[in-house]
Symmetry: D2
Subunit: 153 residues, 4 copies
């Protein structure tokens, strides 16, 4: 049986901006959802993809169906966060992205975003199977089941 | 010579939310631009209008061409701001809105937003004269020239 | 056996603002986290409480440890959302708030925020048991176990 | 008479994120204020400075007293903006920053932020003269008077 290849998470960085902080002196919990989305889009760009794409059959779009984040340690103004992006689950029609945030060695947060692949039609988006050409580029980001379980624990 | 009628500014209130604040413990300067836009839209609704409207000739839209704000005193989490909305200038194609922010008797900020009336066309928005039915409803909000001058001083 | 009293959720409303929307023409998924926090704080105010309080022993603060949201149907500019706020879990040291969003009869989203009760000390926040005077005011918002289970399903 | 040295503006880039856009399909006018602040802070870091600093006399802070922006052309999701940061006016106690935004050759926006140098004291910030060690590092960013006039025209 062939071994599955090691997953290759995408890595990026993000500096905590002043407007991301709040009266408590730390990055507001909502900032991490912005960071996740921007990291997801940057990851897609690195693969030659985008959340707003077109193929022969029309326009693709990826509405969110779920978002979640756990917070382990506060981040502060001008902290440089490293963000590791991987895919926790690659379903027939949906993708669950996974994000790990660190500030140096300190673990800051872990979050997920789930989107459904849709075709933009006259009356709004209709869910479809993820096209193969899109799925194949996400495949290398997919975490092996045990890592995914650990990550969720 | 007939006297012009007294202008009738629109008034509303807004509470400073936690996410509007920053590490300095005050409402971030950008929050006032959100407050202005929301107050403008609330004012339009009170007049039976909206920034996104349709008439017999198609869709209207109002892109911003300028925004400005002066800050006099900080606002803090849970402060209840009163906002007075008026029209500083009602041009042929553009409107300059004026906003005064107070927290009780304390003057907090004063700002302006300028938008151009546009018809949405295939290749994007094209500036047009403000339709009469729209202009007439804004007229009562127009500040007399001397108040406008004072406000800008 | 005494029946537990019916829980009394707190209700409020929120209009989708222009800046909450995105290029897809709907309220951005992050907007619901802002709405949740603002509704939580409004609920606390209605009970005579705040997220930033002081008692004889010092300052209380409530850092977030988790946030999550599921999206059922899109909300659009100027939609008026009704928000029902209740408590899903009232632990020794933490509270999990629950939020249901509707636009008229249409279910829009459901989310949770979990915060830990902390005492602000010199070296940062230290988790403590929720003081009785705080807990008692939250008690009427607590969902019965079966509703809580359903809500999570 | 010695010639003044050529000013050396600071340059950076910023990609328009999805959450920065609105229902009209363009970057919301408020996004540029965030971009300006982040570019200002990045410029300060490049000079070894920060908006939150400490010297022998205590803490420095820079509250905003004014913010303004003019919009020339819309920016869209994933557009890469170049931002040129300079100093329009270096007063005794205040600095007015100037920001020019382009997307390729297309001029997008021009804005200013004015901040007052303050010492953080027990009862809040008190305005002071900008310390020499701070002023000297901003000096090379100062636009010559004629450019400044043109910029404002």
């Amino acid at each position: 049986m062939p071994l599955s290849p090691m997953p290759q998470p995408f890595s990026t960085q993000r500096r905590v901006e002043f407007r991301d902080t709040d009266t408590a002196g730390i990055a507001h919990f909502t900032a991490f959802f912005y960071y996740m989305e921007a990291a997801e889009h940057e990851c897609l760009r690195s693969l030659g993809l985008s959340v707003l794409m077109q193929d022969a059959d029309g326009h693709l779009t990826w509405p969110r169906v779920a978002a979640a984040c756990q917070y382990f340690s506060p981040a502060r103004f001008e902290d440089l966060l490293s963000i590791e992006v991987s895919v926790l689950r690659l379903g027939t029609k949906s993708v669950t992205w996974n994000f790990l945030f660190h500030a140096g060695p300190r673990r800051i947060a872990q979050g997920t975003l789930t989107s459904v692949c849709c075709r933009l039609e006259e009356h709004g988006p209709r869910s479809i199977e993820i096209p193969d050409w899109f799925r194949q580029r996400l495949q290398p980001l997919l975490l092996p089941p045990c890592d995914a379980a650990q990550n969720q624990a």
